[in-house]
């Protein structure tokens, strides 16, 4: 059985159900990436040029192990082979395909990315960057509830569009929320897919979403409110914006290993020059995020700055 999906502007064929992506209604179109079950070698064939605690890579192949879940071989930016550990649910294997293997494949294709959620505002992408646990998804959900379609939730992959304008390649239509946030938001957990049986994190699929590539209009960097910082939204100048962009690169080790830092810096310079950048400092609290979403929405409606 083959399933057909679309993400980051790529047409994907997979023998495994993948929950996070857009379903592709044109299966006749040639696939950019094929995903299939198979044997993943214990070691990389050929010359290993970099390795980490659970991964190694050659010029065009990458093997990564997820303990007790499985192993993934990512080749030439167009093929992923996965081998599940015994008794592991397909759901878990698919989750790490999405979360780990696809971002590695993107880097093999020389695409750089930010760790961000994103929504569409007035035809442009607004990115919400931040470290794990800073509330990107909660804020994205609040903005989606205000009518701004979801573009991405974990990985914002960037390409240069016409005139060198940085653009976001949409990831998928769903937002991931932890159980506690989900309930505070008023969702019933039974209506949503849980990501793993050992983690009460859910895929929220009932939000408006867009699968169109969009120029990046603004980037907000989420920072937890801790002294001596004060809560609020502050505009960043270009120099500080570049610093924050680098801090929020997706998988910086990959950028280094794959020699993509120069490309990332170049992309960061383009984003600093052509997009509005802000820090958003707030407490990790669902209600506070909702208040900020209201403020952002009002600003966009009133000033039309995006």
């Amino acid at each position: 059985m083959q399933y057909f999906y679309e993400t980051y502007g790529l047409k994907i064929g997979s023998d495994l159900v993948l929950n996070d992506y857009w379903t592709d209604e044109h299966p006749e179109v040639v696939r950019d990436v094929m995903i299939e079950r198979g044997k993943v070698p214990g070691q990389i064939a050929g010359n290993c040029i970099h390795r980490g605690p659970n991964w190694e890579m050659s010029e065009d192949a990458f093997i990564i192990h997820v303990p007790r879940v499985g192993a993934y071989l990512i080749e030439a930016g167009n093929r992923i082979v996965y081998e599940a550990a015994p008794k592991v649910e397909d759901r878990d294997v698919g989750l790490f395909l999405f979360d780990v293997a696809l971002p590695i494949l993107l880097h093999q294709r020389k695409v750089v990315a930010l760790r961000a959620s994103a929504v569409l505002v007035n035809g442009k992408a607004v990115l919400l960057c931040g470290a794990s646990g800073t509330g990107k998804s909660i804020l994205a959900e609040s903005l989606a509830q205000r009518g701004h379609p979801v573009l991405a939730d974990t990985c914002a992959s960037i390409s240069l569009g016409a005139g060198g304008m940085p653009c976001l390649l949409p990831e998928g239509p769903k937002i991931r929320l932890w159980g506690r946030a989900l309930e505070k938001k008023g969702f019933d957990p039974v209506d949503h897919t849980v990501l793993r049986s050992c983690k009460l994190k859910y895929l929220v699929s009932s939000l408006p979403a867009s699968r169109e590539q969009a120029a990046i209009g603004a980037i907000y960097f989420l920072i937890e409110h801790r002294p001596p910082r004060t809560a609020g939204i502050e505009r960043l100048d270009a120099i500080n914006a570049s610093h924050y962009l680098v801090m929020n690169a997706l998988r910086p080790r990959l950028l280094q290993a794959m020699n993509l830092m120069p490309k990332f810096f170049s992309m960061a310079a383009q984003m600093s020059a052509k997009s509005e950048m802000y820090t958003l400092t707030c407490e990790r609290d669902v209600t506070v995020f909702d208040t900020f979403a209201g403020q952002m929405d009002a600003q966009w409606q009133g000033e039309g700055t995006i």
């Binding site: 303990p67 794990s132 159980g179 983690k199 801790r226």
Partner: protein, 298 residues
């Protein structure tokens, strides 16, 4: 291998204060230090280090999956200089000639295949272990995690104590297995992988300069008496407390981190029954460390 040492303790035992002292030793002008200048913390359970190194999102892994990888992550951190990563900014003790310290609250444990969770000799040159009278730890720990004293004392007696790993939301740090207070101390002092330098919080309070001087010998870190005295002066508890009152402390989960700083503050914070409970639960280790029980029948 990097010049790397674990800065180990049970929570609320003076680890942060010692970090500040060491941080100030490596500063050219400790007099200008304020508490929010403290170098970005390196911890054994830092999510970002783990995620960057493994390319995985630790938030999607359970505690066993994380622990399978932790020894390799710690070894890699010590052996390879990948972690001059783009996010690694600012001043760190450990830059250049100084020793580098990683804060750790984990008990010293081994995985089922015998691998040390913290990577053993390949991940650090040694450890500094800070211990504090458990009667002093209890009120401070209760305040820190915002629970009542009874719950804190029960946590300190629980040999399977896991630093609350929740299924429905993500904590800032990876899950930590503390063990009970006595077990935590024993795990570090009795392991034979690494040399350990033991510091009693109470000694650090009463004679900071001497404690620091002995520690520097252990670390083979050359500092002048002037450097030591200036670092101690800049790290006085009352000074840090005043700075926190004025502008807060970014590492504090509660409004006050530098709370009382008294060696025997527990005498007016614990009930007689609570003191007896702690002294019964930890009698052997307290005796080993020279903490005299109030209850002479224990």
């Amino acid at each position: 291998m990097k010049n790397l040492y674990w800065l180990a303790s049970y929570p609320k035992s003076g680890n942060t204060w010692l970090r500040i002292l060491l941080d100030n030793l490596s500063r050219p002008m400790p007099e200008k230090f304020t508490v929010n200048d403290l170098s970005a913390i390196l911890t054994s359970t830092d999510r970002r280090t783990f995620d960057d190194s493994t390319l995985l999102s630790s938030g999607l892994l359970d505690v066993h999956e994380i622990e399978d990888l932790r020894p390799k992550v710690h070894v890699e951190f010590a052996q390879v200089d990948h972690h001059a990563a783009p996010h690694s900014v600012g001043h760190h003790p450990g830059d250049g000639e100084f020793p580098q310290f990683t804060k750790v609250h984990d008990a010293y444990r081994y995985l089922s295949d015998g691998t040390p969770l913290l990577g053993g000799v390949r991940a650090a040159k040694g450890a500094i272990y800070v211990v504090r009278d458990p009667r002093g730890v209890a009120p401070s720990y209760a305040h820190h995690i915002n629970v009542d004293l009874g719950e804190a004392i029960a946590d300190m007696a629980n040999s399977e104590m896991v630093h609350r790993d929740f299924k429905d939301h993500q904590r800032r740090h990876l899950p930590i297995i503390y063990s009970d207070w006595s077990g935590h101390v024993a795990s570090w002092l009795e392991q034979t992988d690494l040399p350990v330098h033991l510091i009693r919080y109470e000694d650090m309070m009463s004679d900071t300069v001497s404690v620091l001087r002995k520690l520097l010998e252990f670390l083979d870190w050359q500092c002048s008496e002037d450097q030591i005295c200036r670092a101690v002066e800049a790290s006085r508890f009352e000074t840090l407390q005043a700075q926190e009152r004025k502008s807060g402390f970014r590492e504090a989960p509660n409004p006050t981190f530098f709370r009382r700083g008294l060696v025997d503050g527990w005498r007016d914070e614990l009930t007689k029954a609570q003191i007896r409970d702690i002294e019964c639960q930890h009698a052997k280790m307290m005796a080993q460390l020279g903490y005299v029980p109030l209850n002479t029948d224990i």
